[in-house]
């Protein structure tokens, strides 16, 4: 609508036969196929919108959250995860790493891990989805190495001085997944319940897991 509106405003002699929104043959084909499939009851615009939004925006973090939740719930799984992250996430069917290695690093009361890619934006996408914009930003990439505590404070994460802070630099070959500390008050929780406490940033190391709401 906005485009139409703008177009009306400059609809002068330069634009008589020019349609800025003219669709390509492929775009028309997609529209026609969607109309046909909708007519046959196979698709609806809303269902497609939901899938598209998932694939364009939200894909991923919930995969990592399931991995973390299982590590919390099952000590033997956590051992496997910390020993060989790539193999352990494959147990969920999460694969497709571009020949690289996934290393899981565990936060404890004494150690906090945070992940960066100083060179570009390497990121464990099969488990975390698309990286957030700040992860790709030059300031984060530089400052999380030079002044990690200050950066984490800006994320709202204040670390006691005695906590050992480890910054992991991702590469095309090795990518990292932070296993945050399991929140108190979650004894006996199912993996599914636990997974809801694991936001994306907790697996990058710029946040903690969520506290269970009472």
């Amino acid at each position: 609508m906005t485009h139409d509106h703008d177009h009306d405003h400059d609809h002068d002699e330069h634009h008589h036969h020019h349609h800025p929104q003219e669709k390509s043959a492929t775009e028309l084909r997609v529209e026609a196929l969607e109309a046909l499939l909708a007519e046959k009851g196979l698709v609806s615009g809303e269902a497609i919108d939901a899938v598209v939004s998932y694939y364009e925006n939200d894909v991923g973090p919930q995969n990592g959250a399931r991995v973390v939740a299982r590590a919390w719930a099952d000590p033997t799984y956590k051992e496997r995860l910390l020993a060989d992250g790539t193999a352990a996430v494959k147990e969920f069917g999460f694969t497709g790493f571009e020949l690289n290695t996934l290393v899981a690093v565990e936060n404890t009361p004494k150690v906090h891990n945070v992940v960066v890619c100083t060179l570009c934006s390497c990121y464990p996408w099969p488990v975390l989805g698309l990286p957030p914009t700040w992860y790709k930003s030059a300031p984060y990439r530089a400052r999380v190495v030079s002044e990690p505590r200050a950066v984490l404070r800006e994320f709202g994460l204040e670390l006691p001085a005695e906590v050992d802070l480890r910054v992991w630099d991702s590469t095309a070959e090795v990518r990292y997944l932070v296993v945050p500390e399991r929140p108190d008050g979650t004894n006996g929780w199912s993996e599914e319940e636990l997974a809801r406490l694991v936001p994306r940033d907790a697996m990058i190391g710029t946040a903690r897991a969520l506290e269970p709401s009472v």
Partner: protein, 97 residues
């Protein structure tokens, strides 16, 4: 909803989704639309991704490779071909046209 990991594991060997540094690539909105439409239609028609993947691999191979054509455009054009062929084979004539 079909998860990305399901899609990846079904297509990894035959016709993996186009990516750059791990991120899915959609150069133009129609490509995401084509993917979403396919996922929804296959689910509704009860066709699994494993059943769909040979159609996709065949369509990708038939489409061929042209260095001048962006990879995502080539892939999702083939995706549409495969979707039409696969659905037509399931007695949904009129889909191909």
């Amino acid at each position: 909803m079909t998860q990305l990991a399901d899609l990846d594991s079904a297509l990894a060997e035959t016709a993996p989704l186009p990516r750059a540094n791990g991120e899915l690539v959609f150069d133009e909105p129609w490509q995401g639309r084509a993917l979403g439409m396919g996922i929804v239609a296959l689910e509704s028609a009860g066709i699994s991704l494993v059943e769909f993947s040979p159609f996709l691999a065949e369509a990708v191979a038939r489409h061929g490779y042209d260095p001048a054509e962006p990879a995502a455009a080539a892939y999702y054009t083939a995706w549409l071909d495969a979707l039409e062929t696969c659905l037509a084979g399931r007695g949904l004539p009129g889909v191909v046209g």
